[in-house]
Each structure stands twice: as structure tokens, then as C-alpha cells.
């Protein structure tokens, strides 16, 4: 029946949501291009039906009813498609907030593994959204790093261990030589970004 494909798409969206809530490294599943295209085909088909029925509506109640049901089917498909799209865009938003607000903004391709899984409009969207976020951060709120950690700062100094070899990387507050498996006792605020990027592990 009409709308079954939409149902399938919604199940896919549900699965995406579950995946995202279970594992922290956000890897967005493939965009279901095939399914979306066939739903859109169904919509086009329904639309042709609707146009035909609309011409016939003067000639009786039966056609009016058919027209109404056709429109309902289109609406249902629209709801499914939008819900799927919105689920994905919400996840994209959170990815932008988590990763791309960091210094690595320019090299977005490398941080975002799933960029090949996105549809073309979505790639455009993620670019524009990260642009918007960086604009937000350069406004009045420049002293507050909006994409910074959302867990409250409790310790002034922490122990960190280097997970990945990165050479000399830190520049803003002085230089660290990040050698794999070395340990530092540093101020939390200095290394917060490095922890978010995955170079360091908090102990």
C-alpha cells in the first residue's frame, strides 16, 4: 500500500537514533537515497492521480473521496520524509557542535568520517551550519568558548596520558611535546581541547 515505504524509512530513522545514543563516536549511517527516491516516485505518481481526480470532482462524491485519500497518502509520505531528514540533521548539528568547533574547523573532511555517507544537500547544510557556529563564537560571547566542555570544571590540575603521537602541537598556552604514552600533570583548561580531539586521555 502507499505509505509502506515511508514506514520502512522511519524504521531506518529509529535505528539511526538508537545507534547514535548507544555509541559516542558519531558515525552517521548511509543516506537512504534509493528508498527516498522511490518514495518521491510514489509521491509523483499520487500527484498525477490527484490531478486527474481533481478534474473529475464535479461529477460525484466518489471522486471527492478518492481525491481526499490520495492527498492523505501524499501527506503521510511527506511526514515520513521530513521526519527522516530532521533526525539526520539533528545528528549533524550535534556532530558540528562536538567536533568541528575546535581548531580543526578548516580541515573538516578529516574529522568527519561520515561525509561520504551524506547526501549532497546535507553536505551543503553541514558546511553552512559550522560556518554559523563559528560566527556565533566570534560575537559578544568571544570570551566564552561556546563549543567547550559541558561538564562542569571540578579540578584545576589533572593527569593526562598521551594516546596518539602528535609531535609538538599545543600553541596557545605554550608548547607540549606530545610523545605517545607520556604523562603530564597540567591545568585542565589548557588541555580540554586536546582531550576532545582525542589526543589525550584524562586519568
Amino acid at each position: 500500500m502507499y505509505g509502506d515505504l515511508g514506514n520502512k524509512l522511519i524504521r531506518e530513522a529509529k535505528r539511526t537514533q538508537q545507534l547514535m545514543s548507544s555509541s559516542s563516536p558519531a558515525q552517521l549511517p548511509m543516506y537512504q537515497e534509493e528508498m527516498v527516491r522511490s518514495i518521491l516516485k510514489e509521491v509523483a505518481h499520487l500527484q498525477r492521480n490527484a490531478e486527474y481526480l481533481k478534474e473529475q470532482t464535479e461529477s460525484g462524491k466518489l471522486f471527492k473521496c478518492q481525491y481526499f485519500v490520495t492527498m492523505l497518502c501524499i501527506e503521510r509520505n511527506k511526514r515520513c520524509l521530513l521526519a527522516y531528514e530532521k533526525t539526520r540533521s539533528d545528528i549533524l548539528d550535534s556532530i558540528v557542535w562536538d567536533n568541528n568547533g575546535m581548531e580543526m574547523l578548516s580541515s573538516m573532511g578529516s574529522t568527519n568520517h561520515s561525509s561520504s555517507n551524506l547526501s549532497h544537500p546535507e553536505q551543503e547544510y553541514i558546511m553552512e551550519y559550522s560556518q554559523l557556529i563559528s560566527d556565533m563564537k566570534t560575537g559578544d560571547l568571544v570570551d566564552i568558548d561556546l563549543s567547550g566542555s559541558l561538564s562542569p570544571p571540578s579540578d584545576v590540575f589533572i593527569d593526562v596520558r598521551v594516546l596518539k603521537d602528535a609531535g609538538e602541537i599545543q600553541t596557545e598556552y605554550g608548547v607540549f611535546n606530545l610523545i605517545k604514552d607520556s604523562q603530564f600533570f597540567v591545568r585542565q583548561t589548557d588541555v580540554e581541547r586536546l582531550i576532545q580531539q582525542g589526543y589525550l586521555q584524562k586519568l
Binding site: E75, K78, E85, D93, P121, M136, D145, Q188
Partner: protein, 283 residues
């Protein structure tokens, strides 16, 4: 017979602070010594707190705003003045710390205490965290209710305009984000729909596409009462002689007494009035 002389004593207390403030005008140095010598610095501070806005009271207000924002289902009005003051102080404090640390480097004194610097930095981090969390929470709500906010903006019969509700940056964010989101939907879905179905904020269909805040959400609320010394016309005494507020739950048509100092689980729309007047806070 006992004579209650509390009011006379209070009068005398006020007199000393009056001396304080007059001295304050003539010479700052003297005042501090005066108040320290008499052991009444707290009194002096209190006097200032009534007249001016102190950093402490601002911080308390920020915490209240933050808590309310995190618990309330709707977007609350943006405290423009408060955030402006806090940001100003934040910038000043950052500069101050930088200057101090420069000073340390130049003097290179051996026995300089590190504790004050550490405290100042940690405090700064905490304040920054609260503001960051507050703003991120608001942005999340703006995303969630963007269509609803848009609709509010278009309807003219509102007491609260969008400029009061949102800060300038949030306005920009709201505008731009809904624009690029709409572009995404247009490109991938809406373009292929029949013309009468292309609206994103359709309210006549089988389901309303505009998400409204859940007005009847249950929240935990602490009844704080009016500021001490202020008379409150809404406040009534209950049977035990304790001050309380009387509110009505509309769907049940039931009156409830909310005693000052009590914590209740209440529907949001019932207590939103008290919340706006600052007589209740969400916990």
C-alpha cells in the same frame, strides 16, 4: 512588661552605615579602616548591596536563570542587562589576571603565593561554564521551537516581543539556522511535493507541524516568596498561619495552597506566573 525595641536598634544600625557612606565620600581609605576597626564590615557591605548591584547578587541571579532555563519547557526571556554586566566583568577579570601573571614573570619573586591566581582562574572557569551551559540550553530550545517562535513573531497580539525574548546573537542564530534547515528540506523533500503541501509550518493538515512547548509539563518548584521587607498582595495566610500562595489548576478546577519554603511538583502553566515574578524557582 517587655518592650520590643528591635525597630529602635535597627534605626541605630542604619545610622552607623550613614556615617560610613559619608566617610566613603570624603576618603576611601578612612572608610575601610573605620569599618574594619569597628568590626562592622558586613554592615557596610549590606548597605551597598541594597543600593547597588553586586557581583555576588548577579551571580546568584545567573544561577537562578540557568536553573529555570534548564527545567522550564518554554524559552524564558533573556536577561539582557545581567548577561551584559557579567560579560563585561569577565573581560575585565581576564585582563586583570593576565596583568597579574605578567607581573609575576617580571618580578620572578620566589615566595609569591600561587593560591590567589589559581582561585581566580578556577572561578573564572566556573562562571564561564555556567554562561556556556545557559546559552547552549537556550540554543537547543530555539532549535526545537523555531517554527513556534517564528509564528509568535508574526502574530502581533503578544505582550512579549521577540527582541525581549532573545538576545541579538540568538536572533541571528534563529534566523540563519531556520533558513539553512529550510533549504535542506526544500532541496531534498519539499521540492517534489505538490504545491499545496510544500509548507513547512502547515497547521491545517491531519497533524500540526508547529511544535509548541509542553505547557502542562510537571516541574519541581521551590516557593521562595517575595523579597524580605516587601509586602506582597497575592500572599495569603493559610490555616496554620504560614504565608502561602493560592493557585488554581485549570483542568481539574482545583485550588492549591503553595506554602512559602515548600517544594512541589506542579504543572508548569500553573506556576509560570509566580516564576516570572521571581517568587518561585525551579529546582
Amino acid at each position: 512588661m517587655d518592650l520590643n525595641i528591635d525597630d529602635i536598634l535597627a534605626d541605630l544600625d542604619r545610622d552607623t552605615t550613614a556615617v560610613d557612606s559619608s566617610l566613603y565620600l570624603s576618603s576611601e581609605h578612612d572608610t575601610t579602616r573605620f569599618s574594619e576597626a569597628n568590626g562592622t564590615p558586613s554592615n557596610h557591605e549590606k548597605h551597598i548591596a541594597v543600593n547597588n548591584i553586586t557581583p555576588e547578587s548577579d551571580y546568584q541571579m545567573l544561577i537562578t536563570h540557568w536553573r529555570n532555563e534548564r527545567m522550564a519547557p518554554e524559552l524564558l526571556p533573556y536577561p539582557h542587562l545581567l548577561i551584559g554586566r557579567l560579560l563585561q566583568r569577565l573581560t575585565n577579570q581576564i585582563e586583570h589576571i593576565e596583568n597579574l601573571s605578567m607581573g609575576f614573570l617580571e618580578e620572578a619573586a620566589e615566595n609569591d603565593a600561587k593560591i590567589p591566581m589559581l582561585c581566580m582562574e578556577a572561578e573564572l572557569e566556573r562562571l564561564k561554564f555556567v554562561i556556556r551551559s545557559y546559552i547552549r540550553c537556550r540554543l537547543h530550545k530555539i532549535d526545537k521551537y523555531s517554527l513556534y517562535l517564528r509564528q509568535l513573531d508574526q502574530a502581533n497580539d503578544r505582550t512579549l516581543s521577540l527582541t525581549e525574548l532573545l538576545s541579538p546573537q540568538e536572533m541571528v542564530y534563529h534566523d540563519k539556522h531556520s533558513k539553512i534547515l529550510l533549504k535542506l528540506f526544500n532541496n531534498s523533500v519539499l521540492r517534489h511535493m505538490p504545491p499545496e503541501m510544500q509548507a513547512i509550518d502547515d497547521t491545517d493538515g491531519s497533524i500540526n507541524m508547529i511544535d509548541q512547548p509542553d505547557w502542562s509539563k510537571f516541574v519541581f518548584v521551590l516557593i521562595k516568596g517575595a523579597e524580605p521587607g516587601e509586602e506582597d498582595s497575592e500572599q495569603v495566610l493559610n490555616d496554620d498561619g504560614k504565608p502561602c500562595y493560592s493557585v488554581t489548576i485549570p483542568d481539574l478546577n482545583e485550588e492549591v495552597e503553595l506554602a512559602v519554603g515548600g517544594i512541589y511538583v506542579m504543572r508548569y502553566n500553573v506556576i509560570s506566573g509566580l516564576l516570572r515574578d521571581g517568587k518561585a524557582i525551579l529546582v
